[in-house]
């Protein structure tokens, strides 16, 4: 997030797009609800499903999955045409406005409504007026923006709109992605990505290479060649180029698109190591399984969606002969020629501070004193950064990007006539490794389902609770139908937590060309009632 959770009460309006906030980030969902319900703040919700947040919205736009760029351009179009945008902000703080304006000009409400499947184009005008008329306005998004072949364009379109309306670098405004895992922010910050060292320092420069060779006392040249991303690496395994895979606390058999393809890749590997807390679906394919610690058994830091670094403490004694994950990695590295001498997580954090400029001022002592520290925090007297891009953008001027709408990889056709979208439910998390092994959560929602509109249900002769087959070009699952007014007609939703009805048997492994994110949120499927 560019801004902070505690700024939610400061915002005058919210645009929630591609985030089922009350189910996937419920605590933030409640905070936004409180402002909208009790303090009459404005809310616009854009989502293919009539999620709970839609109930409180001043305008709810039920778009077709995969049409985010079009709707965001459409909102910008109205703000420009009616001169509701922040001209002074755009002129003084942004660049490339003219190119952007030219593209956006084509996205009239009527044109956008036809792309997005919105019946009434005037809703787009109404939404744009609300968003442009309230300052500061905060934009919240989640995987409903990013998990598309056009994911990067979706994010840039969010930034475009917020620059146009003068809401970046402003308290209570911002572009606020809600991160879906408790330390996905930190894993990125630490350089667990294929092309950057910690703090997003590119691997491709001589300076950075030398810096890390010195810091790590490496006796060979560090590679400057970008590595593989997750989905690319599975393709490389099938091609025979990737021989060994070390899976650390992940479950790709359940979490990655096109499960059949993932399993084929794992089986092709010469060597698979899995380090996890239970024997996951992925671990079944491993040659060696290493038992790590669960979160309540370990110490260390995690970074939340607002860049706030927090301490985790040991609450319970470790299970059996399982071992601290940092210790496993250290012992393995030392067996392979390294001489790491860490004795505790704090030793590692002290090293992190020396190579990660944005974390340099954060110490275990400050965190244990319950200081609220958000990076960037460059030195020990720095209070941390509540919101980014104050006064000027990190890069200087905010770059507006002219972006055209492009359709998803797979369109519906007579054989696969329905759009499938996937996601999470309130009571479960990701591949279920944790939530399905927690009794109360498991008993509350014990099985998967397909959510479908009553209109579609009647077309396929399906009643609530009937068993249906959901099939795509990649696979087929059988789940119970949940007939509800939530999804847009001709769109069905399947949660991906359930191994016995794995949504990712169905999803497509089309990737965004820039960041390689898979298009989990849209593919073509068919629905058939299964006779019982």
């Amino acid at each position: 997030m560019t801004n902070s959770i505690r700024e939610i009460p400061v915002s005058e309006a919210y645009l929630i797009i591609g985030s089922n906030t009350t189910e996937n980030h419920p605590v933030i969902g409640s905070m936004i609800k409180r402002e909208v319900i009790r303090n009459n703040k404005k809310l616009v919700v854009v989502d293919p499903r009539r999620i709970e947040m839609a109930k409180y919205a001043d305008v709810y736009l039920q778009i077709k999955p995969g049409t985010n760029v079009a709707i965001l351009n459409g909102l910008a179009h109205v703000a420009l045409k009616e001169n509701l945008y922040d001209r002074e902000y755009v002129e003084s703080r942004c660049e490339a406005f003219e190119e952007y304006r030219k593209v956006v000009e084509k996205y009239t409400p009527e044109h956008v409504a036809s792309i997005c499947g919105i019946d009434d184009p005037s809703l787009i005008v109404k939404a744009a007026r609300i968003l442009a008329g309230a300052k500061p306005m905060a934009l919240y998004y989640c995987m409903g923006i990013t998990q598309f072949k056009s994911g990067v364009n979706g994010v840039k379109s969010c930034a475009n709109l917020q620059m146009l309306l003068g809401n970046i670098g402003v308290m209570g405004g911002g572009v606020n992605p809600l991160r879906g895992q408790n330390n996905v922010q930190g894993a990125c910050d630490m350089g667990a990505l294929n092309a950057v060292y910690p703090a997003y320092q590119p691997i491709g420069t001589e300076d950075n290479k030398n810096k890390f060779m010195n810091a790590w006392k490496v006796g060979f040249e560090l590679s400057m060649k970008p590595g593989l991303t997750i989905v690319e690496s599975l393709n490389a395994a099938i091609a025979g180029d990737l021989k060994a895979l070390y899976v650390f606390g992940e479950n790709p058999v359940m979490s990655d698109p096109n499960q059949h393809h993932v399993i084929e890749a794992l089986e092709k590997l010469d060597f698979l190591v899995v380090q996890d807390i239970v024997l996951t679906e992925t671990a079944q394919y491993a040659d060696v399984v290493l038992p790590g610690f669960a979160f309540l058994e370990k110490e260390g830091t995690v970074s939340n969606t607002e860049r706030r670094v927090q301490m985790m403490h040991r609450v319970v004694a470790p299970a059996g002969d399982s071992r601290d994950d940092w210790l496993i990695l250290t012992q393995l590295a030392n067996r392979m020629g390294a001489s790491w001498d860490y004795t505790c997580p704090k030793d590692i954090f002290e090293e992190i501070r020396t190579v990660t400029p944005s974390y340099a001022g954060i110490t275990y002592e400050r965190l244990e004193n319950n200081e609220l520290l958000q990076w960037p925090c460059p030195n020990e007297s720095h209070p941390g950064t509540q919101f980014l891009h104050r006064e000027k953008f990190s890069r200087g001027l905010g770059l507006m990007t002219a972006i055209e709408y492009t359709p998803p990889a797979e369109d519906v056709d007579p054989e696969y006539p329905v759009i499938l979208t996937t996601g999470r439910v309130l009571e479960h998390f990701h591949t279920g490794t944790m939530s399905r092994n927690s009794r109360i959560l498991d008993e509350t929602v014990p099985e998967g389902f397909v959510e479908m509109n009553p209109n579609d249900a009647s077309n396929y002769n399906v009643c609530d609770g009937d068993l249906v087959a959901v099939s795509t070009r990649r696979g087929s699952i059988r789940v119970k139908a949940r007939v509800t007014g939530r999804p847009k007609p001709n769109v069905v939703f399947v949660p991906f937590h359930f191994a016995e009805a794995a949504a990712n048997k169905l999803t497509i492994d089309a990737l965004d060309p820039t960041c390689k994110i898979p298009e989990f949120k849209v593919c073509a499927c068919k629905i058939e009632r299964v006779a019982m």
Partner: protein, 352 residues
């Protein structure tokens, strides 16, 4: 000036404009008892326990009375004590406050105040009237209205923190009772089991279903950590019993969650102590896993990775790091791949 000077129990204290007498007192470590007040919800003024004497004259509820400059407050005198005792006595007589059988024994605010004010056991049968008990309809929450003092904290917690307004009062006078939506049973309602109401309940009227271990309040150990689920980063106080089993989770007010939790943070932690946990390294031999020692397992991984690296090059090895693990662990994983294996083939589930 926004500062307010006033005298509480003979002591000069400073408050802020807009605060109530109770808030100024609490900020200055002066203990005024209360039951319906809670810092995270709006003021109710229902229980009357927080009555104080203002300017040596009238008795006012300190939780609702605005503080003003020059006020002289007495929080305790014979009349106030007698008043509090009589209110507590009536609350006791109305319900079935048998601490022996109550989940809140040892942390109950009513129990603590009755002890402090030496309130005698009410005469006659307890309770005067049986009220609703609903301990099984919800997977997460239990309700026993015989312990309810109608303070309204749960109603406000649901309506002002979680913003779902499941709880409300129905009926009038002595037949006032809780209702969840329009249903008698909580399990039939739209409750999402965030547990905010239980966390605010001053008695044992609302409690959590047993997640894993059980234990009495004074035996439990508390440690704060960060939720493992989404990226909000809620701080949670986890409680363990004498056997080291996890008992319950309460939202910590210092975290970004300001004390609130969702159903996953509240109840989704027993997997840590589940029988499905891996406890020994496993090595696959002839298609089946066999338990191995750490040395055996780590030696095997090191030698296989070294072999593959020398035969097919460092770029033939890949690691998936984890957004479920700490910064320290992720740092080490990318350092391991870059500085030990010699490749940038490291990624994690940021995109999944």
């Amino acid at each position: 000036m926004d500062a307010i000077q006033m005298t509480i129990d003979g002591k000069q204290v400073t408050g802020k404009k807009g605060q109530t007498i109770l808030e100024v007192a609490l900020d200055n470590n002066i203990d005024i008892p209360y039951l319906c007040y809670h810092p995270r919800i709006s003021k109710t003024g229902a229980c009357r326990i927080c009555m104080v004497r203002v300017n040596e004259a009238a008795l006012k509820t300190s939780c609702t009375e605005p503080a003003s400059n020059g006020m002289i407050i007495d929080t305790d005198d014979d009349e106030i004590r007698e008043l509090r005792r009589s209110i507590l006595g009536m609350l006791l007589a109305e319900g079935d406050h048998n601490c022996l059988y109550c989940e809140s024994n040892g942390e109950c605010e009513l129990q603590r105040l009755c002890n402090r004010y030496e309130v005698p056991m009410p005469a006659g049968d307890m309770p005067t009237r049986q009220r609703a008990v609903d301990t099984v309809s919800s997977k997460g929450l239990r309700r026993n209205e015989n312990r309810c003092i109608l303070c309204g904290r749960c109603v406000k917690a649901c309506g002002e923190i979680q913003m779902n307004s499941v709880w409300n009062f129905t009926g009038r006078g002595s037949s006032t009772a809780l209702t969840s939506d329009m249903f008698a049973q909580l399990g039939d309602s739209s409750c999402v089991m965030c547990g905010a109401c239980v966390q605010c309940c001053p008695t044992g009227a609302l409690s959590f279903q047993t997640v894993l271990g059980r234990g009495q309040a004074w035996e439990l150990k508390k440690e704060t950590s960060v939720c493992i689920y989404c990226g909000v980063g809620c701080q949670i106080d986890f409680y363990t019993n004498k056997e080291g089993k996890l008992v319950k989770a309460l939202g910590n007010a210092d975290g970004p969650n300001e004390g609130h939790l969702c159903v996953k943070g509240r109840f989704g932690f027993d997997f840590v102590q589940s029988g499905k946990r891996l406890t020994k390294p496993l090595i696959k031999k002839n298609g089946a896993f066999e338990e191995a020692s750490w040395d055996e397992a780590l030696d095997l991984v090191a030698s296989r990775l070294s072999d593959i690296k020398s035969k097919s090059g460092p770029d033939s090895i890949m690691a998936f790091s984890s957004a479920k693990c700490t910064n320290e662990e992720n740092y080490l994983m990318q350092k391991f791949m870059r500085a030990v294996i010699g490749t940038n083939n490291v990624d994690h589930c940021a995109r999944l």
